[in-house]
Symmetry: C2
Subunit: 376 residues, 2 copies
């Protein structure tokens, strides 16, 4: 084998050298001023990416642990309205069922959410609304701002999973009325997998529910973070914090605004290629702002087999994603998250274009050229 | 500052180069044959350290997450007898209170457990018994084998926290009748903090309780680990798995038996030094086999202030632990876990001896020389 394959997945994503090399360090004491300063750097920079001045904590666990922290601390025995149009919305619904009285507001994966049903649920007393901002399973971006307005109007708490949007697309948690937001480390932040960050508004703290999971007890996180030095309640995954700090510093150096523009441009390049090839984007919407800017989901043309196409691309050292669950074999997905840029996108599109042709699909035009025009 | 301080804590502990450098790698797809093989290596070697042929899973979270996985999957609404003689026993009790009907069987920290009370609880129908095998907060090792016999006699499940013993001291989970055992990565395994491993007996699977935490749902772990490739249900902390695999390979190369002997010898060296100095070990026992072999807890002589003594030692680049909670200022603790050996132990003892004298304690003899005699 040559070098490591290029991961163009909706996470985990390639990490910059500085991020990876930060993990080589010897262990340090996690109850020390040095660790406290590292944690504080992460929190400070993540708050800008979340668009929040609320409390923010880093949990040693995956994005799913972050989701459970959110529901487990604010959803116990509550009426929870779960907006679902993809796999991760379903996951939030499943977690909500373990804690409260969860009401499913389902749309087909990749189709716009049913906000009329949400209104009804809010009128009927929903106390917590869950949303996946950027649903990678279907490549759709949901209207968080609009949903925030609705939940605020009815006085409910708004829980937004920003796992795959924060740090890569525009998120304004405070301006949108988001009470609890979550991000995962291995997505747009381009850090290693294994950490989640969660923000909590003052309004949410007032409505903390009882008996959360012990490991994910946010009151304990708050207490430990409030000390000097800043700490976590249980031993943190120290090397991942070293890496996350470095990834956050890189965000600060690039500038969040530039980073978001770069992500939007990368996704635009992929969408242009898809259009020129004559393929269809999977999300059932004509509204450009509803397309994800961190992953592009594309419907397979007839007769193209997923395993064959991704196999050809993999042989060229590039990993793209297929569909999940009932979308297996029906869509493919190209991630444009984190530290990647034109070299990764152009090679991915070139390999995809080659695979499509090799498998007998007549492309309508040169998608690679079209992407260059966006990226150039 | 010179080089990184030497951590002689009861975790996190210094990691060998091979373990640290394993984390530098680029991200890989966690749903791949390569990741599956890494996970399988960890499981295979950890099973030998646990002394088990039961199922074993690796969780992306701290030892506390492992504790909660154990109680959360087998303790919901159950009668739980919690043996407590230190901080981590208390933690298992607190977690048990969130899930079941927890019965505290408390002894003073560092004193032998009350097995008569345990018998009574078992007679009264306790269904799950929790034990911390090696209680680092007090430097005491508890009689797991004896407790295993009792729980088996009464047909209860036996949950043993081996977080700070497995991989460094003798553990025979299957022979002792342990149904659920847990280890933490940053202790005797000398891997980075952030992973826990948990083993589950067939008997325990038959008694799985309902509604565990979603992130720690062991049935989901079992399902994902049973596929090909072997997977985790949610995104794992990939770099930590790279490191844990390397740490496990090092255990295999050293040989588990040799490794345990080395740990026992290291702790013996520290205990000899303490004795020669004329200080008292903290655990209230005369039974040598009740002293921890991975951390030694020592009672401060009168007039020696914790912050001063550990401050002098820290200035020499060595970090030892103080007491926790009500033992703050009353004891100090020297960890002898993982990849350390004579160089680390002798320098730690030399610095400690120097600090004791500098603060006016009249040592009765040369503890460093005594330790050399054990280690030489």
């Amino acid at each position: 084998m040559e070098k490591e394959p290029l991961l163009m997945l909706p996470g985990p994503v390639p990490m910059p050298e500085r991020v990876r090399y930060a993990m080589m360090r010897q262990a340090i004491n996690h109850r020390s001023a040095e660790f406290g300063a590292i944690y504080a750097d992460c929190v400070r920079i993540l708050k800008t990416a979340f668009g929040t001045t609320n409390d923010l904590f880093v949990i040693s666990g995956s994005g799913t642990a972050g989701m459970e922290a959110a529901v487990g601390n604010f959803g116990r025995d509550r009426e929870i309205a779960c907006l679902v149009n993809g796999k991760f919305g379903e996951r939030l619904y499943k977690i909500s069922q373990r804690y409260g009285n969860a009401h499913l507001i389902a749309s087909e994966w990749g189709t716009p959410l049913d906000l009329e049903s949400l209104k009804k649920q809010l009128e009927n007393g929903a106390e917590l609304v869950t949303l996946v901002h950027n649903e990678t399973s279907a490549g759709i971006k949901n209207p968080a701002q609009e949903i925030g307005k609705l939940t605020q109007k009815y006085g409910a708490l708004f829980l937004m999973d920003g796992i795959t949007s924060i740090g890569g697309d525009n998120v304004e948690a405070d301006a949108w009325g988001v009470d609890i937001a979550i991000v995962g480390s291995q997505k747009c932040l381009a850090a290693p997998a294994g950490l989640a960050a969660i923000s909590v508004s003052a309004r949410a703290w007032e409505r903390l529910t009882k008996n959360p999971p012990y490991y994910l007890d946010l009151a304990a996180y708050k207490k430990s973070a409030g000390g000097m030095p800043m700490e976590t309640p249980y031993t943190p995954a120290i090397p991942l914090f070293f890496a996350l700090r470095e990834a956050c510093l890189l965000i600060e150096e690039e500038g969040l605004h530039n980073r978001i523009n770069r992500h939007q441009q990368m996704a635009q390049a992929v969408r242009e290629a898809v259009k020129i090839w004559g393929l269809l984007l999977y999300p059932k919407t004509d509204l450009r702002h509803q397309y994800s800017n961190t992953v592009t989901a594309v419907t397979y043309p007839e007769h193209i087999k997923d395993a064959e196409m991704r196999g050809i691309i993999k042989k060229m050292g590039i990993i793209i994603a297929g569909g999940q669950d009932h979308l297996k074999g029906k869509i493919f997905r190209i991630g444009t998250m984190g530290a990647v840029g034109a070299p990764e996108i152009l090679s991915t599109l070139a390999a995809t274009q080659y695979a499509l042709r090799k498998l007998g699909y007549q492309i309508k035009g040169d998608g690679v050229q079209a992407a260059c025009e966006v990226l150039g």
